[in-house]
């Protein structure tokens, strides 16, 4: 395939603002899951991965004028700001640039508070227009002072941001844009917390991905964007590529709205097809950044799918949701950034809170950091409700 490079990244999660804080926490094995501070809910006993800023503080951080901003949009702007800086897009603009963002809750953080005002009164009605997913991307796009050529919004639940990467790559491959800023953003909301609670998949303690005694997920929040760019544009703008997007695939488990098929068919196909597209051998993959939510269902079937793809030669696997919680629609890009950090700094992020292997699986997740490991290719999985499964592969740039 035509080379597509990554030339910038931005991230915000409960680990902190920016790549440096993220890297530091990963390398120091410091989870940021803890007690709820900002989200107002009666179920505040559940641990979450919460960004340690109030929505107003985020606005101040960005120096945005007082106005209509949702938490998801502000998270997105913070991540976009960093991605724009690293890729030097403000200074050296690509000819044509797209913004593709994923979200599901959109402006729900305001809607769930003001819903009765929306209906009965005239107060806070400005937040009606910021409720939907597309409006969220519009608000995020305002961080960029230049002009985007294409903007759209993907909403495939927890694989939204991964599918944004895929659409961005296709926009570049068909020559429609030279670069695309792709990712997702999602804030914690009462709506999500209560929703996941009714599904009985929230762990009341810290999540334990791939552990036999895992007990569900912790919700997180955050945003991340990566800048992907054609080789021609990288050369033309004279910027440093960080790594290569070497393969990707989107498949559907087509089994059930909230449960996965017993043999992890969708997950299996996503990894198989992504590897196939990259032209790599399975043995070339050095690290699997798993979706690993910590739920009974996901970790078992994703594990089975990994066994089906890699046989008895399974590369190190870990889920970083033990650090950030499940950042839902942002997870695909949050974990792409983390996978790229692993690739760039040659380490395997660990899977925290693991004690006992899942009986049915032939592997344990990576619990030791294995620094200085020579990573060349990493695959990252993002799976959503309804079986919207996507995998992306990032690779070191072969300088030979």
């Amino acid at each position: 395939m035509r080379n597509i490079f990554v030339t910038g990244m931005g991230i915000i999660t409960s680990l902190g603002i920016g790549k440096d804080r993220t890297l530091q926490a990963l390398q120091q094995k410091k989870s940021s899951i803890g007690a709820m501070k900002y989200l107002q809910t009666t179920h505040n006993n559940f641990p979450v991965g919460e960004v340690q800023l109030s929505t107003d503080e985020m606005g101040d951080f960005l120096n945005v004028p007082d106005g209509t901003y949702t938490r998801t949009a502000l998270l997105g702007r913070i991540a976009l700001k960093e991605a724009l800086q690293e890729s030097e897009i403000n200074e050296k603009r690509p000819k044509r640039l797209a913004l593709i963002s994923g979200t599901t809750v959109g402006g729900m953080d305001k809607s769930e508070i003001f819903y009765n005002d929306f209906l009965s009164g005239d107060k806070h009605t400005e937040y009606i227009e910021t409720h939907d997913c597309g409006a969220t991307t519009d608000l995020i796009s305002k961080e960029y002072q230049g002009k985007f050529d294409v903007i759209t919004t993907i909403s495939t639940a927890c694989s939204s941001a991964a599918n944004a990467v895929i659409l961005g790559a296709n926009l570049i491959k068909t020559g429609r844009v030279d670069a695309a800023i792709v990712g997702g953003s999602e804030c914690l909301s009462k709506f999500h917390l209560n929703g996941f609670k009714t599904l009985m998949i929230l762990d009341s303690e810290h999540n334990k991905p791939f552990d036999r005694n895992r007990n569900g997920l912790n919700l997180g929040e955050g945003a991340a964007f990566i800048v992907i760019e054609s080789e021609e544009s990288v050369n033309e703008r004279n910027v440093n590529p960080i790594c290569k997007l070497s393969g990707y695939a989107n498949t559907c488990d087509a089994f059930h709205q909230t449960a996965t098929s017993p043999n992890g068919e969708g997950a299996f196909l996503a990894m198989e097809k992504a590897i196939q597209e990259s032209g790599l051998k399975k043995s070339d993959i050095d690290y699997i950044n798993a979706h690993g939510t910590g739920t009974d269902n996901n970790d078992l079937t994703e594990g089975i799918a990994i066994m089906r793809v890699f046989g008895d030669k399974i590369p190190p696997v870990s889920s970083i949701k033990s650090f950030t919680g499940h950042t839902t629609s942002a997870a695909g890009s949050v974990e792409s950034v983390i996978s790229i950090l692993a690739l760039k700094h040659n380490f395997i992020p660990v899977n925290l809170n693991f004690t006992e292997q899942i009986e049915e699986l032939s592997f344990k997740p990576a619990t030791e950091m294995i620094p200085n490991k020579d990573l060349k290719h990493v695959i990252t999985n993002s799976f959503g409700f309804g079986g919207n499964d996507s995998s992306c592969i990032f690779s070191q740039i072969d300088l030979s």
Binding site: S111, L119, T125, I128, G134, K147, T198, N250, G384, N388
Partner: protein, 356 residues
Amino acid sequence: MSIYINSIAHISIQEPMSENWFHSPIMYRENYVRSIEPDYSAFIPMMTARRMGLVMKRAIATALKTIRETGIENPDAIITGTGLGCIENTEKFLIAMIENNEELLPPTAFMQSTHNTIGSQIAVFLKCNGYNSTYSHRGTSFDSALFDAVMQFELEKISSALINSHDEMTPNYFKLLSKLNYWKEGEISEEVLRDGKSKGSFSSEASVSFMLENSKSKNTICELKGMEMMYEPDIEQIEVCLNKILRRNNLNINNINAVVVGVSGDKDNDDIYTELLSSILPQKPVVWYKHIFGESYSASGLGMYVAATILKKGILPKHLLYSKTCTDASTPQNILVYNHFQNKDHSLVLLSSCNN
């Protein structure tokens, strides 16, 4: 590489799964009209249908109709557009959460609230493991879904795609959008909408499914020759983009026989179309559809359906003409579908007749 539209099905405020609107459309006077439901028993087992929300039933029924007509039981891609997703279930869960102070909530409404419920449930219904994605980008949600498919056809990643777009409008959401002047007050008529001097349109619902393939079939409706999307373009950029599509097909602006646009009666919305039409597409017959199908986030899907139907039938009925002065409405060969949302996201689709 070619893309053909081989089947289309709609459930809307016109007679569902029917082309009766082409000659005798139902005209409405209310500013809030909900879709006419077909008999779902022909598509979905009764017990299954009972558990489904309205938007879900409409999605499954329109998808199945295109599948039956084409025999494509396992499309390579299912791509869905929806501005508001499963808003009925979202509201149900939200209201229960507020009223019951976050206690004793049933999981079903939440499970079926996410936007991708629609596309993934179609995949579950069809047991289809192929590419599956959902776009939720306001009034260009359908356009985004189509754009994704067009690119994958171009890259030869797929040979068939079910492209669909669905929006329901609940009484509550209608009320919310009323506060933002989305809807006109008082009686709606073709004249009021054509007049275009005030804010707002009339609210409706739309569900539309297309089966696209890279080969022609005996039922082919028309060919999709090109598509582009733009963000906040000026008129010159739209012209450049249009010429690019035309040139790729060895056509020029004179070959466009009609332009289908999303004029809705809303002044701000319609002015954008009028300006573009007068500056780069003067004298072209202008076709509208929102006067009979209403306005919703998925309406642009119906715009493409209207254009495709005109090409298939080879005539342009008078009631679809927005422009009073029309120089040429003879058998159309090439139709441009132009849509924008709030003058931010714009899309161009070129369709051509396959009748010869």
